[in-house]
Amino acid sequence: MHSHEAVLKVEHVSKSFGPVQALIDGCVELFPGEAHALLGENGAGKSTLVKILAGIYDVDAGEIILNGVPVEISSPLAARAAGIAVIYQEPTLFPDLSVAENIFMGRQPLSAGRRIDKAEMIRRTRSVFERLGVDISATRKARGLSVADQQIVEIAKAISFDSKIIIMDEPTAALTDVEVARLFEVVKTLRSEGSAIMFISHRLEEVFAMCQRVTIMRDGNFVRTSTIEEISLDEIIFSMVGRDIVSVYSRHNSELGDLILDVKGLTRAGVFKDINFQVHSGEIVALAGLVGAGRTEVARGIFGIDPIDGGVVTFKGKKLKSGSPLAAMSAGIGFVPEDRRQQGLVMDMAIDRNVALASIHDLTRLGLIKSGSEKSLATRWASQLQVKFGRFSNPVKTLSGGNQQKVVLAKWLARTPSLLIIDEPTRGIDIGTKSEVHKLLSELVSNGIGILMISSEMPEVLGVADRILVIHEGRLSAEFSRAEATEALIMRAATGQESVVA
């Protein structure tokens, strides 16, 4: 079907981080003029593959062949020199500089005397934007550009570098429909000019609308490549999931208890709107949806991290003060955030102090921290959660990802909360610890805690949750019970194809 040679061939590339094999057998072929979707669940190895192509990771084994020549991409600069441009979900621009200068930083067009030829720079920027059919001022500052416009600027940069391979990592995640439509137009233009585009997305309907071929990965392995005509939505989902979900997750059956969390009309301007749901003790409720749909933001709103613009959160029958994590904590809510390193832990602080950080006020007598109280608290929870560590006085950053996550859990469980909000409970941790965490979650609900879980991993959502709420573009779009939920149904609701709110 393609008359020309592949511009990029990735052959049996592997990469591991310590004991975790992030990529076992990565294979992908890109032809000029095609838009190629790389699909797979979270943890399938897509991001690792992208980072290898971007020159951020080096490969353990396997080959990358560029225009028929094996290459080694040793740095981001090398990737750029090789004509590979990677556009991330949230590009990193120079906010203080003009759009034109963002595109041409370090290689601004020069006139006599090595002076920057500003007029030429702006002219070239405009011509690139014109080619892409977008209207962004070349002279405005990058600060305040929407994410969509920032991506366009990155694409313009890639074009100005004459990159023939453009990789987009979930570009549409944070975009509105209008912006997505514009991006599609831009991609069409790029293809017509002979560029190869690799596109990572969870929104399958977009894949069908835009791509000519798909490559599917699972658990770090290549599964299949196919043209879009030859594959159906169900086949894609089956290839992505491809395993017996139920067997992985053991689940205690627990009694549904009292209503503890009641969210009514929760709204934050520009982020989420009119969210209504309830959580009872003894159940795990999952918030599913695409990255950027507003799941984390809802959780943050409930816990008081961000201010909310409307709605009421009632906890155990009492209205919760908004905008105050402390109020949420004292009411009995714990929050295990998405970003362990920045939000969950103080990486340079000792393990025991991290465990005690949220309960420190309970460990004082006459205002002074009781000596050894932090350590004994940490000892209790470390043994219960089986945290593997050297000494309690070691900084928590010396632990593995899984053990770090256990420390965060210990920190909140030490407060004996009645509701635990947990955002991406098993992100970036190894399989063994993963199942330990899942077991822990079901033990907790058996003991009468309510859990609100946010997860991007479909098997986790299906395997762990009693009830699944789906958020699409800041609104609750569907609710499923454990029995009725399927991956396809959740996908549909998450991509806004069907609204089935009960």
Partner: protein
């Protein structure tokens, strides 16, 4: 290699080593001083060192806490000057001295609150804000007292420049030690102290853990203002006079002491003991350099060098261990 590992595993290892270094340095300066002058180890040295350094040392305590949260307060010396000027003005105009002192302390609190509000409520960078209030507070001091010098404070107060009765301890030094004890306990043994470290190391985590980051920062600026105003009163009574330029430029000395005491400019690291030792080293050093007739200004060289060494040393050992680790990793990859 094994010693390297044990060092790595200790709680805040770099600080332990740094404080140990300060103790050695203190001993070295004392031996040096004693060698140069037979009076060096007498009480006079101790007394005058305490007297000369008192205000800087006292203001270094709240500064330490503020730097640990990752911020800075450059307005301290101006607040000292403002408090001194205001005291002088009110005293000249016949106010009751106690009432005047009370007003000065309130002004200190208000000044600190202004810093705190601009930094926490408006979210402005503390370095810019406190350079602004540095100028502002000094300016108000000028408005209050102009080019006048206030003198004639009651003897019962100016006695503060003498040693505490029946001892050879300077009042300044005694007050510093008492305050250092309080600050030390707060920083190292209370929930507030833990919160301060957490804010400096990972502000987001601190906020997610229910720590009221803004309120704590605000309070620290208020305390800093109060203590600076208090230092201004102390300074005035010791000098028996006050002028609008009282304590001009001391802010950088205060920062230098804190940094030399092992407080990281990036926040999250440091101990009060370190700061106390830094004060002692500076005091002893100053005394011994004075003993060999090095002018106060030339002593700045030593101050500056110590400050540079205090940041260069941990940085160099860090990059050394980084390189070592990198080399080891390469070896593993190679095999």
């Amino acid at each position: 290699m094994s010693t390297f590992k044990t060092l790595l595993s200790g709680r805040s290892r770099a600080l332990v080593r740094w404080e140990f270094g300060l103790v050695l340095l203190l001993i070295a300066t004392m031996i040096f001083g004693a060698n140069e002058s037979k009076y060096f180890l007498g009480w006079q040295t101790f007394f005058f060192a305490g007297l000369n350094f008192g205000e800087i040392a006292i203001m270094a305590l709240p500064m330490t806490l503020i730097i640990i949260t990752g911020e800075i307060d450059l307005s301290v010396a101006s607040m000292l000057g403002l408090s001194a000027s205001l005291l002088g003005y009110l005293f000249i105009h016949g106010w009751n001295i106690w009432l005047a002192m009370g007003i000065c302390l309130i002004v200190g609190i208000l000044g600190g609150a202004l810093n705190g509000a601009l930094i926490t409520i408006l979210g402005l960078p503390s370095i810019a804000v406190t350079i602004g209030t540095l100028t502002l507070y000094r300016g108000i001091a000028l408005i209050v007292l102009g080019s006048n010098t206030a003198q004639g404070f009651p003897v019962s107060f100016t006695k503060l420049s003498l040693p505490i009765a029946h001892t050879h301890i300077a009042w300044d030094f005694a007050i510093f030690i008492v305050l250092a004890l309080i600050f030390g306990v707060v920083l190292h043994s209370t929930a507030l102290g833990r919160s301060i470290f957490a804010i400096g190391l990972q502000p987001e985590t601190a906020f997610f853990s229910g720590i009221r980051v803004k309120r704590i920062k605000f309070s620290l600026y208020v305390v800093s203002g109060l203590i600076s105003a208090f230092a201004g009163l102390l300074y005035t009574f010791q000098q028996s006079s006050s002028a609008s330029d009282t304590g001009l430029g001391l802010e950088l000395n205060v920062v230098a002491i804190a940094l030399f005491g092992g407080i990281s400019i990036f926040g999250g690291r440091g101990t009060i003991i370190g700061v106390v030792l830094a004060v002692c080293v500076f005091g002893s050093l100053q005394a011994s350099l004075t003993a060999i007739n090095v002018s106060a200004q030339a002593q700045n060289i030593v101050t500056g060098c110590l400050l540079l060494v205090s940041v260069l040393l941990p940085n160099l050992t860090q990059s050394f261990s980084d390189t070592k680790r990198k080399l080891q990793r390469r070896k593993v990859v190679g095999t």
